[in-house]
Symmetry: C2
Subunit: 349 residues, 2 copies
Amino acid sequence: MAKPGGLRIAAQALEAYAGALLQAGGFAPSHAAETAEMLVWANLRGIESHGVLRIPRYVEMVGLGLINPQAVVRQVAGRGAVCVLDADRAPGAVAMNAAGAKALGLARDHGVGWCVVRRMTHAGAVGIYAERIATAGLVAMVMTASKPLMIYHGARNEGVSTNPLAIAVPTADPAGPMIFDMSTAAVAAGKITAAKDAGRPIPLGWAVDAEGRETTDPAAVKAVLPMAGPKGTGLSLMIEVLASVLVGNPLLTVALRDGSEPGGNGIVVALDPSAFGAADAFPAGVSDLAAAIKALEPAAGGVVRLPGERGDGERRRRLVEGIPLAAGTAARLAALAVSLGVEVPDELT
Amino acid sequence: MAKPGGLRIAAQALEAYAGALLQAGGFAPSHAAETAEMLVWANLRGIESHGVLRIPRYVEMVGLGLINPQAVVRQVAGRGAVCVLDADRAPGAVAMNAAGAKALGLARDHGVGWCVVRRMTHAGAVGIYAERIATAGLVAMVMTASKPLMIYHGARNEGVSTNPLAIAVPTADPAGPMIFDMSTAAVAAGKITAAKDAGRPIPLGWAVDAEGRETTDPAAVKAVLPMAGPKGTGLSLMIEVLASVLVGNPLLTVALRDGSEPGGNGIVVALDPSAFGAADAFPAGVSDLAAAIKALEPAAGGVVRLPGERGDGERRRRLVEGIPLAAGTAARLAALAVSLGVEVPDELT
């Protein structure tokens, strides 16, 4: 049933489909809509691994009681510019959006807003939460914490999460904040999967096998290595302290002791440029810096890119041309749709 | 004149000597004392590259008008939990200490304090500014920005600083915060110097030569590479935005355009655990996490270390045994001492 050029669907149609699937899978309507928006945001930017392919697992997690699809996020602590929310195992997008809205409001009042949300589930592509704040003209910093996913430098097994960290700032282009989005891992898990699917070896330094030895065989990978060795795991450990230990919901300590699934925590920080004395000049200043970087002479064979540049380009392209979906992803979504009584869009059949 | 076992001096004596040299070199007494404390802090932790060997250059910078050794740090902007200081080219330690004190005070009032200090000079080993806040029971995050020092990923030449980032948190041991301290570079410049001195090659991935090619010859190194490629330079770029562009003192934009020496900026953020609802349990929670990490099985040939663990051990040892100084460092300090009319401690002759 493969169409010439593969399957392709408009972002809006994919978001409606994703929302319908999630809602049929038990998500409250607003929870389904917020989650669908985050997933399609990732697909638009070319981050397929965090896109709609997650939906079957999210619905499964509802069935397993891991996600509370009707959860109400509540504030449980805070003072001044700080707030702590409890997500009661809400979908990650719902929890992070609540934290973002809180941080933004606090930043307007106090110059900075620092909001931690605890007991949430998979946050997905965290760049979206940072982007939204930057689009409102503020600076955003977003971090999340989860169970051990990555080798701790010097250890044989996983000891820390791959903690995403996103920073977004407004630029002179109102529609285009600059979004830096990284994890603390040496490589995205998706690149290992891609190498495996393509039968290509992976470089040393990416991952280890079951014996804890670095491997070039993507099929033998047991766990991913940190970026820059002790820097990657040290940064991860400190994010765990800030996102988890500080709000009384330690994830790693619990998971390392008894292997239980600890859920997730997140941090959203917002800064209001007007508190820093240079508000009017700030977006133009960011664009000036971007221009100075883009003017650097490339290395032989190198390309000088700004943070988020590749994703921005992909997004612009996919908003026009539609989002390509792998046949396998479309098939898995269609199977779920049939089982839940949701109509499959024509574009994906 | 080399003594058996090399030169060694007690921290207190070295700090007094450093302070006397700086004061004779033009530093106001309190500026000299704050700078000497920071330098010896680095020597105690084994970070010789940021220790007292910097003094001749600092004194030279006074003569060149780069450091204002009598500068008064003043608040120029701020609102709520945010403050912006102007350092008028003060010594880095003076500027960062002022920012730290401000951030700590704001955090007590607002839960978080976010202080940026602009127009300072070399900040030195930034871990000390984070440590001081953590010793007071708060969480600290410290970043600094400076001129281009590192290859921008994909570019032939330096485009961003190596921006130090330190995060410190209290533990159950009141005297021992956990201090994470990294730069965004693939390697510390001191390791390249050490390889050069020892006639050893360096690994690919550390640095490039004048042609912009990765090199294994430490003598051919023109510039250091970022940690983890685009992650290192992306993080650096965002720190420049937060520390420099946001307060109207862009360093990279100016330096990349006209090659001028732009000075430095710094950020100190403090978080008061009592605003996060888990204050009493927090230091013990950090220690529990540390214990869980230390209990990880080491990889073959690996060692599991906590952030700052190596420096903590060095500090404990050197507080007892004294600080070893390279003969060349001692000789350069002695030459400066003679020229300034400062007495050289017996231990260093």
